[in-house]
């Protein structure tokens, strides 16, 4: 006689089944109808000079991806929240984007202040977030994140590359001054630069440290001081309208001719400054990208991307545009890698994150990799000098050096300022870099 299955046995079986299912929550999921990408960028305020072109790039890249079938065969859609609305509004908009709009991934953000607020929130909400443009190295040095990645370099390699270029091309300077915007980036970038400079060239005298107000409309007094002090080198990591004003006012009064100017992240101002930017200024590109990248400029896809962007916006791409591309490439790479590891089935978010660790992907330069220990992007850095070139009504980069990331990025587990103090004095001399000419 067959014994009836008792209630207890049924319950036990159900519990066992539930336990089995719960033990494997991250198995393959059904392919979504659409991949929603939520992007935080500046649509208002001074940093909209980066944010608005980046938005245009995101729309263009999404459209292009969808023409090719999307990511993993799923079309993508993009939505935006404005960093310029301020901290509180940004946080609540981000939360709404994640919880109500149910985006699949976020790209946030431009400002390091925004990243500082949103990274912990993304972690709490278990949302995969790619920090696509913010530069503060401290964000990933201070805390280990699971859900946050930076798909580009950070301020340390950016400033170290600029310093290396200066030391390689003008090794004999004796005095330096700095004119930086008085906010986190202005202060931090100088701290990185000056710490490394003290190690590599301790005899250099800092004759002035000037931090005019963010958004200052007038640098007259700072320029007068520098004209009187006559430093060999003037460094500025200013950007946007501030940098445009500083360069123009300095040029009008002869300061650009008197001192060697280094524009740490000046690439984004080159088109706007036009002929007001003299030849011979050292300019950092804030990453491994430039619309006339020496290794990419003949690549048909790269040329098509740049032309399409120019047709859409009227200007050639700047670094925020390429950083946006890197974020898309990183996400696409991670999803596809996770799918492959999953036997072609659509991966869960956790599987995508696992795939992102150690991922190597390509933006519009050399490859970028996402370091598994701290999720920091390892990206090369281009630095060059401004030069007049036929066919352009603005200056282009010449004598470009591309610095490989491993040597100039803080090792995982260390703080940037501490690491910089341990660099050997011959650090720059040991960096082997090739120099690329514009048109070469």
């Amino acid at each position: 006689m067959i014994q009836p299955i008792t209630a207890l046995a049924r319950m036990s079986a159900a519990a066992a089944l539930a336990a089995t299912l719960l033990a494997f929550p991250a198995q393959a999921q059904d392919k979504p109808k659409e991949l929603k990408i939520g992007i935080a960028t500046f649509l208002s305020g001074p940093a909209s000079v980066f944010g608005v072109p980046a938005k245009a790039a995101a729309e263009m890249i999404a459209e292009d991806l969808n023409k090719k079938g999307g990511i993993g065969g799923v079309p993508v859609s993009v939505s935006f929240i404005d960093e310029g609305a301020g901290g509180e509004a940004l946080v609540s908009n981000y939360r709404r984007m994640v919880q109500d709009d149910k985006v699949d991934v976020t790209f946030a953000a431009i400002s390091s202040g925004s990243c500082g607020q949103l990274a912990p929130l993304a972690e709490d909400l278990k949302m995969l977030n790619l920090m696509w443009d913010c530069g503060a190295s401290s964000i990933l040095e201070a805390k280990k994140y699971r859900y946050n990645f930076r798909s580009q370099a950070n301020g340390t390699p950016e400033m170290l590359a600029v310093l290396a270029y200066l030391l390689k091309t003008k090794p004999d300077f004796k005095t330096i001054a700095v004119v930086n915007q008085d906010y986190a980036w202005g202060r931090e970038s100088w701290e990185i630069f000056s710490t490394a400079l003290k190690v590599m060239k301790p005899d250099v005298k800092v004759v002035a440290e000037l931090f005019p107000k963010f958004g200052a409309p007038d640098f007259s007094t700072e320029i007068s001081r520098l004209l009187a002090l006559k430093p060999d080198v003037v460094l500025t990591t200013s950007w946007g309208g501030d940098l445009d004003t500083l360069v123009r006012q300095a040029g009008q009064r002869g300061l650009l001719q008197q001192s060697a100017f280094v524009l740490g992240i000046g690439e984004s101002s080159m088109q706007r400054l036009g002929k007001d930017l003299p030849d011979g200024l050292i300019i950092g590109a804030r990453g491994d990208h430039w619309f006339l990248h020496p290794e990419m400029k003949n690549d048909p896809a790269f040329k098509a991307f740049n032309e399409a962007f120019k047709a859409k916006t009227g200007s050639w791409p700047i670094y925020s545009v390429y950083h946006m591309q890197q974020a898309f490439s990183a996400y696409q790479g991670a999803v596809e890698k996770a799918m492959k590891a999953n036997g072609g089935k659509w991966p869960s978010r956790e599987q995508v994150i696992d795939a992102a660790e150690g991922l190597e992907f390509k933006g519009w330069g050399r490859g970028v990799s996402l370091r598994p220990e701290d999720h920091q992007g390892l990206e090369a850095q281009i630095v060059g000098v401004s030069k007049t070139a036929p066919g352009y009504d603005f200056k282009v980069l010449d004598d470009m050096m591309i610095f490989e990331p491993k040597a100039i990025t803080t090792p995982a587990g260390q703080k940037s300022v501490d690491w910089l103090k341990t660099l050997p004095p011959d650090f720059v001399a040991k960096l082997n870099v090739q120099t690329f000419k514009h048109g070469g």
């Binding site: 005019p212 004209l227 946007g240 309208g241 009064r253």
Partner: protein
């Protein structure tokens, strides 16, 4: 501090003081007559700057020297059209309201105009430096200054100050404006059209703010939000001088401009603090401002 720094700081402070004076004197004049604190005054500065840059870029290919009159035309255009419309349709309905409501409404106007500005001129910085490039540099103790900075700006500010004084003290229209400032009820009682006086005064004040912006435009990048800093600073100057005090605004703008320049040489970190520190100290000692008059209230 040696004499070189003193002279250089004076040269730097003068041009800054000139721009601040032009914006704050307009604000002060408007308050003196209309008794309204107009937060949207900063927008007039920004619109003056953007309009001047637009006109300059248009006329420069014809003749670069046309950019100078373009600055004046831009300020009159903005003052008359934008200022006139603002007074007639946005401010006139709120004259009878409490000051707090007036402040809120003019703040809302400021935000709306800021957004409109972005829609019209976009977010990319604009620079139209032709007037500065046309004039030669001047060397002061071996340091180059642009003539525009050390001569044009201060001279325009001085001419504006004396022109305004003459207008208010020696012309009939000026006397009418002063009468309304002194006692609105009595002026109305003798047949002065206060509404017309308000409109004319507002247009003059708006044109002065727009002139400040227009004169600043060849020296700086025009970016979204440029009116914000200037309105905060011009409030500080107008309050420190005493609302409604024209000459006081000139003296205070000069003091603040020079103080700011000096502090950048001595302790640059304090640059942002200086104007507001001066304002705070003055108002603690003289709440009516340096040149303000204590209004006696009859009970």
């Amino acid at each position: 501090m040696d004499s070189t720094i003193v002279i250089l700081a004076i040269c730097d402070g003068l041009s800054y003081a000139a721009l601040v004076f032009l914006v704050s004197v307009g604000l002060s004049l408007i308050f003196g007559v209309l008794r309204i604190v107009n937060v949207a005054h900063g927008s007039l500065y920004a619109y003056g700057a953007y309009t001047a840059a637009t006109l300059s870029l248009l006329v420069a290919p014809v003749s670069p020297w046309l950019t100078f009159p373009a600055l004046l035309v831009a300020s009159i255009l903005v003052g008359t059209v934008v200022g006139g419309l603002m007074e007639r349709f946005l401010l006139r309905p709120v004259y009878h309201l409490e000051e707090v409501l007036q402040l809120l409404i003019t703040f809302a106007v400021f935000m709306i105009m800021d957004n409109l500005q972005r829609m019209i001129w976009g977010v990319q910085p604009i620079f139209a430096a032709e007037p500065v490039k046309l004039l030669p540099n001047i060397s002061v103790l071996g340091v180059n200054y642009t003539s525009y900075q050390v001569l044009v700006l201060p001279l325009v500010a001085v001419a504006t100050l004396f022109g305004l004084r003459y207008f208010l003290r020696y012309t009939l229209s000026g006397a009418i404006i002063m009468a309304v400032t002194e006692d609105r009820e009595a002026a109305t009682a003798i047949g002065i059209d206060a509404k017309r006086v308000f409109l004319v005064t507002f247009i003059i004040g708006a044109s002065l703010a727009a002139l400040g912006g227009a004169l600043a435009s060849p020296t700086t990048s025009l970016v979204p939000g440029m009116g914000t800093d200037m309105i905060v600073l011009s409030f500080a100057v107008a309050a420190t001088a005493g609302l409604g005090q024209i000459e006081g605004a000139a003296v205070t703008a000069l003091v603040i401009g020079l103080a700011r320049a000096f502090i950048i040489y001595i302790q640059p970190e304090l640059e942002v603090l200086v104007p507001y520190l001066i304002m705070m100290i003055v108002l603690l000692i003289r709440p009516m401002g340096l040149f303000g008059v204590n209004n006696v209230r009859k009970i």
